[in-house]
């Protein structure tokens, strides 16, 4: 299978990621609206005590999803940018090393937020599990390793370009 061009794995991935990004954007906008609407609903029904508490639970679950989808959207956008440089034939640039690193940080924030929301849910009746897996942390480490490999690759490419 070719690395770039029509029918290549990169182009298939790009199509898949573009579709994913559209879906994520729709979900993210929906969650953003919900983040504003749910507290307003709680204020309106402030007189009815139990409903107000239910509003807090919902708000926590929506906020949790908002952060998760935000992280996913960020990661997918960065991956599309990386694939774009591959299409132009210049994947080994310092910018891609930085992109991989920011993806690593975003995943770290996402996983951290997942745990934090899990603990916060203990205070309410929100249905969020405190759940983290070793394989997720290994994947995050792998992204950071990839970032460093790209940094060295970019340095080597620059050296090769400046060898006469």
């Amino acid at each position: 299978m070719r690395a770039i061009g029509k029918g290549s794995l990169a182009s298939i991935l790009a199509v898949g990621l573009h579709i994913t990004r559209i879906i994520l954007w729709i979900a993210f906008i929906g969650l953003s609206i919900a983040l504003v609407v749910v507290p307003l609903g709680s204020i309106i029904s402030i007189g009815a005590g139990s409903e107000a508490i239910a509003g807090v639970d919902n708000y926590l679950e929506i906020a949790h999803q908002f952060v998760s989808f935000g992280v996913m959207l960020f990661v997918v956008t960065r991956l599309l940018e990386i694939l774009k440089t591959l299409r132009f034939g210049t994947p080994f640039v310092k910018e891609n090393a930085d992109r991989f690193r920011t993806v690593g940080y975003a995943l770290l924030i996402g996983e951290g937020a997942k745990i934090a929301f899990g603990f916060l849910s203990l205070l309410t009746d929100a249905d969020i599990e405190i759940d983290t897996q070793v394989i997720t942390w290994l994947a995050i480490v792998a992204v950071f390793v990839l970032a460093e490999v790209f940094r060295e690759g970019a340095r080597m490419k620059e050296e090769q370009d400046l060898t006469v």
Partner: protein, 76 residues
């Protein structure tokens, strides 16, 4: 960078243009320009050999080592 390139001086002495040298040694003007302006990170022996052959000079006529630390120490 402590290695400096004096290709422009040798070219001037020989009355040869960069374009002419490029055609003779088979290295693109862009690459020779990188070398001339001191932006190059490395030079292949084959390139150096071809340049020296065409300019009838020694590698030492083109490449110089500026020992900045030694100069600074002497100044102190």
């Amino acid at each position: 960078m402590t290695i400096s390139v004096k290709l422009d001086r040798v070219l001037l002495d020989r009355g040869m243009s960069l374009t002419e040298l490029s055609e003779r040694v088979g290295v693109t003007i862009a690459n020779l320009s990188i070398l001339k302006t001191g932006k190059a990170k490395a030079i292949r022996f084959s390139t150096l050999e071809a340049i020296c052959q065409e300019l009838k000079c020694q590698p030492g006529d083109i490449l110089f080592f500026d020992d900045e630390d030694a100069v600074a120490d002497a100044a102190e």
